[in-house]
Symmetry: C2
Subunit: 215 residues, 2 copies
């Protein structure tokens, strides 16, 4: 499958590398065609890896991953272009962590709204599926980094899009348990896990942990 | 031990009943001395159970539990009286769930502040320990309602107060794992678990589940 990824940071790189290793063609999008981290990633990942602008990546991908900083995501998606996003599944991995007021970070949007909803409202013709935003990028594509059973949460308005994403999470990335929390408004709930995630990372001095719902 | 509980709802009643069953003397506080739910609870719990105003319960207890609705808690504690709270440990079980805008509820305070912090700021001489606010009242005093290992979170500024509360949670209530997230600002993190808790309760049609951190 051809996949477009927005963002050349650790998250985009981890997901892109995994997808290329599975035989998919991945275009990494950034603000400029000559982004240095993008070029490095392309060089490391061979013929199926390419880079371009956000619009290039959006036009290229049959499926898209938003791996940008949450506070930049809406601007990035404007650059990607509504026409290029139209009808596609966008896995929104981003969190609107605001570090501008010091540590611990707060969320730029939460409680009565969420980044996932903002994206869905701004681009009504893209199928936003919020997923993977509650785990570190190591775990995203290799959940066995944390031993034992643990859960991933997804939400979104489009049932078919969620089915596709669950299939990818389970069969490509190796997730055993994916909990569907409902429509995109549930992104409030998963984005609001970030404050405890940040505290736990401070406590454990490691990002290699995850939530499990025990019942 | 003499314990004061603010709030005669399901949470106050569950905690009060457990404490009386363990041999402690408990005074349930409410707005009036003749609160009907308070009277019912006293009748059901025998000689070690009593009721009174919030101020009566605060003056009575060597340790205090805030089991009121989060949106009423600050007013309740004003009625309890700073002088009656002074120097005591207050276990803050409340969440500022705001149902006024429909379902799912939002939080009246979150992200850059929390109810736990508001209480600590308003009553600097009480030792606030945020705890038990992330589980249903059934689990609070009987964690084995949910099988297997799962975690409770606490936070607060006073290390000795937290040690006392952890002792109560483990040795009186039966909790095996209590994770100390740090000072009272971590109440932001645990109170912000409520949105996903509410979604999960909707999904499972049951409040009998809990979080476990897997690492």
């Amino acid at each position: 499958m051809k996949i477009g990824i927005f963002g050349t940071g650790m998250v985009g790189s981890a997901i892109g590398t995994k997808l290329v290793s599975l035989g998919h063609e991945v275009k990494m999008g950034s603000r400029t065609t000559a982004n240095a981290k993008g070029a490095e990633w392309v060089k490391a990942n061979g013929a199926k890896a390419s880079q371009g602008t956000f619009a290039d990546a959006a036009a290229y991908g049959e499926m898209l991953f938003n791996c940008t900083h949450g506070m930049a995501s809406l601007d990035v998606l404007k650059q990607a272009g509504a026409q290029n996003l139209k009808g596609k599944v966008l896995v929104d991995v981003a969190n609107s962590l605001d570090f501008s007021k010091g540590m611990p970070p707060s969320l730029a949007v939460c409680n009565t709204d969420s980044l996932g909803e903002q994206i869905q409202r701004s681009f009504p013709e893209v199928k936003v599926v919020k997923a993977l935003n509650t785990v570190n990028c190591n775990l995203m594509v290799n959940p066995s980094v944390v031993k034992g059973d643990h859960d991933l949460f997804i939400c979104g308005n489009d049932a078919q899009a969620k089915t596709k994403v669950v299939d990818i999470l389970k069969n490509w990335f190796g997730w055993k348990s994916v909990i569907d929390l409902g429509d995109i408004t549930a992104a409030r709930a998963t984005e609001m896990l970030l404050p405890i995630w940040v505290r736990l990372m401070g406590l454990y001095k490691s990002p290699n942990f995850n939530f499990k719902i025990v019942k």
